[in-house]
Symmetry: none
Subunit: 220 residues, 2 copies
DNA sequence: TATATAATTTAGGAAACCCTAAATAATTAT
DNA sequence: ATAATTATTTAGGGTTTCCTAAATTATATA
């Protein structure tokens, strides 16, 4: 069970070893603003716990398990920072500061859920991550699917419309595609082609762009 | 500057003194699952810092300033617990557990923002609080109006979200409707019909229910 | 009221981190 | 290659919290 402190050491080491293979304890000490002596002491402990590889006078680097822990924590940092900046509107410095505390308090599970919920973009951790979380892959928790992605026969209720072009939304509404209505995917010509959609008793054909602006909660 | 630990002591004392005026160190010890000796020791420290009143063999109670700190922390606990349960779908026990850690990591400011964001109902702390936060009063900013009530062309900043259905809030957040963001009422189909809303560069159509859960500070 | 029991506090110690100063190893310059 | 300099580690201490065992005070019983 790694403590807050140990986690801080690990992510700092991760940060500094990016690119290089190992760093000197003095570098770490400067980076973390902790005396060289304390760093040496801690690094020996982390080494005993199998989280880092350390050779006297040579340097430190993370082991596999240390890397795993560090990445986990850093991912938590990113999620929290995102939450604080984009949802609670803190400025970057304040968000970073606070995320440094939160990253140690949030559970793995909650962090993943938050990633999913906010559809957090790929963070650098996941570039080299063996099993990146959904969030890092760009998925979101929003259960609704874009209409174009439905297969013929699938149906559901329109949850919302979203487009960069206001005219598209208005046009859709004027066609009767309003949130709450039932739609069915009838058929499609091609992947990027128009879609034939069942809407109430009528059937409407929409081009790909329009159908990409409709989000539906699919019924099973 | 109170540490995590001290904060834990304070909220435990708050919890146990509710109703009574003072509690015995042994009670605290049982409640916190910490040895009586350690509690006595800590209580002396808290007393020196002016956070509790303590008389040997008599008992402990919070001072004004201790009460203030304890309430602040407990408010944070409630907000986090709410977030974890209603937004991230943790069950109560897990949420409580995790909130016990988060409550020490989140800043006062962020906690207030979260209260506002979720329009958290009055929590018991604020009943006797001298300056309860807006969120606790349930009065979410007089000046804010429900989004559905805006007339086309009106715009403003989202002040908070509030709905009886946690899924609605979640969905709104995942769509980008978070406090602080600018929204414009574009058009409405009918009184109880969906609304077309400008959000950043995109335009979204939401059904009446969703749009009724968004509160905005209208700009003049 | 005197004493047995229970509650509470003091004493002494341990673990996690931090620090400064002194010692030692590594590096650089002559 | 050797001395001077710099980097790193060891030594010795300090703080915060925790614990167990022993001492003390309060309470209850006879």
């Amino acid at each position: 069970m790694t403590t807050r402190n140990r986690e801080d050491y690990l992510i700092s080491i991760l940060r500094l070893t990016e690119g290089q293979s190992a760093i000197k304890t003095t570098e770490l000490s400067t980076f973390m603003n902790i005396s060289p002596a304390s760093v040496t002491e801690m690094v020996k402990i982390l080494s005993n716990e199998g989280l880092v590889e350390y050779e006297k006078y040579k340097g430190v680097k993370l082991t596999e398990s240390g890397l795993h822990v560090a990445r986990q924590v850093r991912k938590k940092h990113h999620v929290m920072e995102h939450f604080l900046m984009d949802i609670l509107n803190l400025d970057h410095d304040a968000a970073h500061e606070e995320a440094c505390k939160m990253e140690h308090a949030i559970s793995d599970e909650s962090a993943v859920k938050m990633c999913k919920m906010f559809g957090i973009p790929v963070d650098d951790d996941c570039k080299s991550c063996k099993n990146p979380c959904d969030a890092c892959l760009g998925k979101t928790n929003d259960s609704s699917k874009v209409l174009v992605s439905l297969t013929p026969g699938e149906h559901g209720m329109i949850s919302h419309l979203k487009s960069d072009d206001p005219d598209v939304v208005k046009k859709l509404i004027s066609l009767g595609f309003v949130p709450g209505r039932e739609v069915t995917m009838d058929s499609k010509i091609s992947d990027k082609g128009p879609r034939v959609i069942g809407l109430g008793n009528s059937t409407v054909a929409l081009d790909f762009g329009m159908a990409s602006s409709i989000f539906v909660d699919v019924s099973s």
